[in-house]
Assembly symmetry: C2
Homo-oligomer: 160 residues x 2
C-alpha cells in the first residue's frame, strides 16, 4: 500500500459518507504491507461527536491490532486536514505519519490553525504530507455544503 492507493480508498469512504448525509471525509489506516482500517465520518449515524473518519478508523485499527498504540510504520491518510481532536488522537495512537488532501483553514490542526502534529512539547512529531490529491476531497466538501446551503435557504456553513 502507498499514499496513492490509500487516498483512493479514503476518497471512496468520503463519497459513501456523502451518500449517507454526513460531512464527506474519509480516512485509511495503513502500512506498507496493506490497509488496516477504512472509515468515513459517522457523526450523525452514530450520534457520536467523536466519530470523525480518523477516529473511527483508528478505533477499528486498534481492535484489529489488539493495541490502541500503533506499531512503527503506520500512516493515516485522510481527505481533509485533521481537526484538533483527531490530530491529538493520531498522536496518542503513535502513528508515524499523516497524509491529507484538502486544507481546513477554519479548524485544521496540521498547520492551518494549530500545529498539533508537529508540536515537540507533546513528544516526537508526526510526519505530515499535506495537500495530497486535494481537488476531489475539496470538491466533495463543496458539494455537501452547497447542497446544505440550498436546503436551508443559504448562509449556513457550519461543519459537522
Amino acid at each position: 500500500m502507498d499514499h496513492r492507493g490509500a487516498m483512493a480508498q479514503a476518497l471512496a469512504a468520503a463519497r459513501e459518507a456523502l451518500a449517507a448525509g454526513e460531512v464527506p471525509v474519509g480516512a485509511v489506516v495503513w502500512r506498507a504491507e496493506g490497509v488496516i482500517a477504512v472509515a468515513g465520518n459517522r457523526r450523525r449515524r452514530d450520534l457520536d461527536p467523536s466519530a470523525h473518519a480518523e477516529i473511527v478508523a483508528l478505533r477499528e485499527a486498534a481492535r484489529q491490532l489488539g493495541d490502541w498504540r500503533m506499531p512503527a510504520g503506520v500512516w493515516v491518510t485522510v481527505t481533509l486536514e485533521p481537526c484538533p481532536m483527531c490530530a491529538y488522537c493520531l498522536r496518542e495512537a503513535r502513528v508515524t505519519g499523516v497524509s491529507y488532501g484538502a486544507d481546513d483553514p477554519q479548524r485544521g490542526a496540521a498547520g492551518s490553525l494549530y500545529h498539533l502534529l508537529g508540536d515537540s512539547r507533546l513528544g516526537p512529531a508526526v510526519t505530515v504530507l499535506g495537500g495530497y490529491q486535494a481537488e476531489e476531497a475539496q470538491a466533495l466538501l463543496d458539494r455537501f455544503f452547497a447542497a446544505r446551503r440550498g436546503s436551508l435557504g443559504g448562509g449556513v456553513s457550519e461543519p459537522g
Copy 2:
C-alpha cells in the same frame, strides 16, 4: 446537580478506572436537572485511543439525548484538565462549560499548554472552571504513576 455533586461522581469514576488498571480520570456530563452520563477512562479495556473519560461520557450523553450536539446548559466535570482531543470534542459537542480538577502541565488544553476551550476562532468560547477540588484527583494520578514506576523499575511517566 451542581459542580460539587458532579465532581463527587467523576472522582468515583476515576477510582473505578484506577481499580481497572486505567489512568484514573473520570468525567460527568450534567445539567441542573441531573446527571446525563458518567464515565471513566477506558483506553486499555476498549483498545480505543479515543476512550478518554470525557469522550466516553459525551458519547453516552449523545446517545441518551439523541443528538451529538448538547443542548444549552450542559456542563462536563472532569477530574483532570482535558487534553487537546477531549477539549476539541467538548467544543464540537457544544457544551456550555467545563469544570476540572487537576491541571495537566504536559498536555492540558484548557490553559496549560493550549487554550482550545477559549479560542474564539473556533466559535463561542466554552466557560472553564479549573482547579476545582484538584487534590483527590491529583492524588489518584500520583498513586497510579507511582505504582507503574514501581512495577517497571522506575523512570517511566508516560501517560496512557
